[in-house]
Symmetry: C2
Subunit: 282 residues, 2 copies
């Protein structure tokens, strides 16, 4: 497995692979890899592509009071895990390589980025779409893989790729969970043992919501309120949002129908966790 720090190296290697007839797959990550990331790699490998994993903690998508500085990093372990999963090349640029001069250009996906996580993290998705644009231009993949835990991010990237005619396919990969149900996240390491136990309420409440829907409940408000009550009653978690939206375009829904996203964000201490469930065919 190759580890590249420079964009020029990445371009050359990708060009050589293409000349050899390989297609290119990109798995963009911020590192501190877990099984969720490795599942993206597994999916990417299925196509026979040369698999590039970017590992870059992107300052542009963190707010001034967010965890950019303390975001967990461990390149050595990441490299072992990536190699084990069959990654062909890691692209691990320094911040100066990605932003050598003051960045003036931003890619924005309007209203899709202002809601849900965007409402409590102003500028976050603008940072994501800008760095993803940069990574796509550095690697020029045929396919890029995104995890559905960050469902809003996946929708936004998909919209950006469609609107701007990026020549690639965006592929969503289902959430990977720990054995006890917690959605995998690099931020789970922030949790104390007590918070780690409390955090199980996210998956539990989503599963319960699915039951309510199967029993006939169709009111978005009722379901959202019940989830909030459950989280607040059973744990010390502070609800950032619980929202029921169209899974196609995040538009508000009063009544559940079609393909529906139940998305939530909850703080345990200073750690903000997200989770979601997509229900289809309602």
């Amino acid at each position: 497995m190759i580890i590249c720090k420079l964009i020029s190296e990445v371009r050359q290697i990708v060009k050589d692979q293409r000349a050899n007839g390989r297609s290119i797959a990109l798995v963009p990550t911020m590192g501190f890899l877990h099984q969720g990331h490795l599942t993206l790699v597994e999916e990417a490998k299925k196509s026979g592509a040369f698999v590039v994993m970017s590992i870059f903690v992107n300052p542009l998508q963190f707010g001034p009071n967010e965890d950019f500085a303390r975001y967990p990093r461990d390149l050595e372990q990441d490299a072992q895990k990536a190699a084990g999963a069959g990654v062909d090349m890691i692209f691990n640029p320094e911040v100066d390589e990605m932003y050598p001069t003051r960045n003036l250009t931003y890619v924005e996906v309007g209203e899709l980025g202002d809601t849900l996580c965007g409402a409590s993290r102003p500028g976050h998705f603008r940072g994501v779409t800008t760095v993803v644009s940069k990574l796509l231009h550095c690697v020029q993949p045929d396919r890029a893989y995104f995890g559905q835990k960050d469902y809003q991010q996946y929708l936004i990237v998909r919209q950006m790729v469609q609107d701007l005619n990026f020549p690639l396919e965006v592929i969503a990969v289902p959430i990977v969970r720990e054995e006890d149900g917690l959605a995998m996240s690099s931020r789970n390491v922030y949790l104390t043992p007590e918070q780690r136990t409390e955090a199980l309420v996210l998956q539990r409440s989503l599963t319960e919501a699915e039951k309510w829907v199967h029993q006939g409940e169709r009111s978005a408000q009722v379901i959202a309120e019940q989830i909030k009550a459950k989280i607040t009653n059973e744990t010390s978690g502070e609800v950032d949002y619980v929202e029921i939206r169209s899974a196609d375009d995040l538009s508000a829904l009063a009544t559940l129908q079609g393909k529906v996203l139940i998305a939530l964000a909850v703080r345990f201490g200073s750690t903000r966790l997200i989770d979601n469930k997509v229900l289809e065919g309602l």
Copy 2:
């Protein structure tokens, strides 16, 4: 010469040319071609590339009270001129092909787009950078050619390409003028014969400003005021702006030094014309 209306066709043809070892050059235009456009093509031909000219009047870069509807169009004559100049393919999409669904995504180059022409045309450069991004993703050229008459546009596109790591080179081509000195523009056809004569004051005042500089004048304010006075005294033109800026980043200059842009925009009736001069080595 091929004429394509569909992005899928363009992609396939470009791919085939690449497979044959040709590099790709893009000359983005809004059509109604004049010698300025054809000079871009001449430059593009020099590299031996397969030359794609896009002809697309982009609604996104026109304000609600601007001339989108009446912007001059003449594909038949454009095709003749382009073929004569050696264009290999015209890409002439319908608006629906470029914007099949409601566009949510914009590319913005912050402050560079808010000044000069951006100040009197809010949203204009956002429309330009967004459509240029789309065209670059459709054609995937190695080089793209822009005329220096739209100097601010060239700087903005160059900045965007640098900031977002688009894998291509942006090339600026000097202004082409009519025999009497008027900078070529598709909008010149809007001018009445009287306005056409009055409009010569643009080039005249820029040439005179250059003389003042060679005679030692270094005050940006003095030069700008003298140009404004000249335009207002000699013609019915209404000055939108006369600005002296750094030609590298459009930053304001009190004293002329280094590489300097003298840029102006003047209305004759409802027709807004722009022109500029770059002075180097001050």
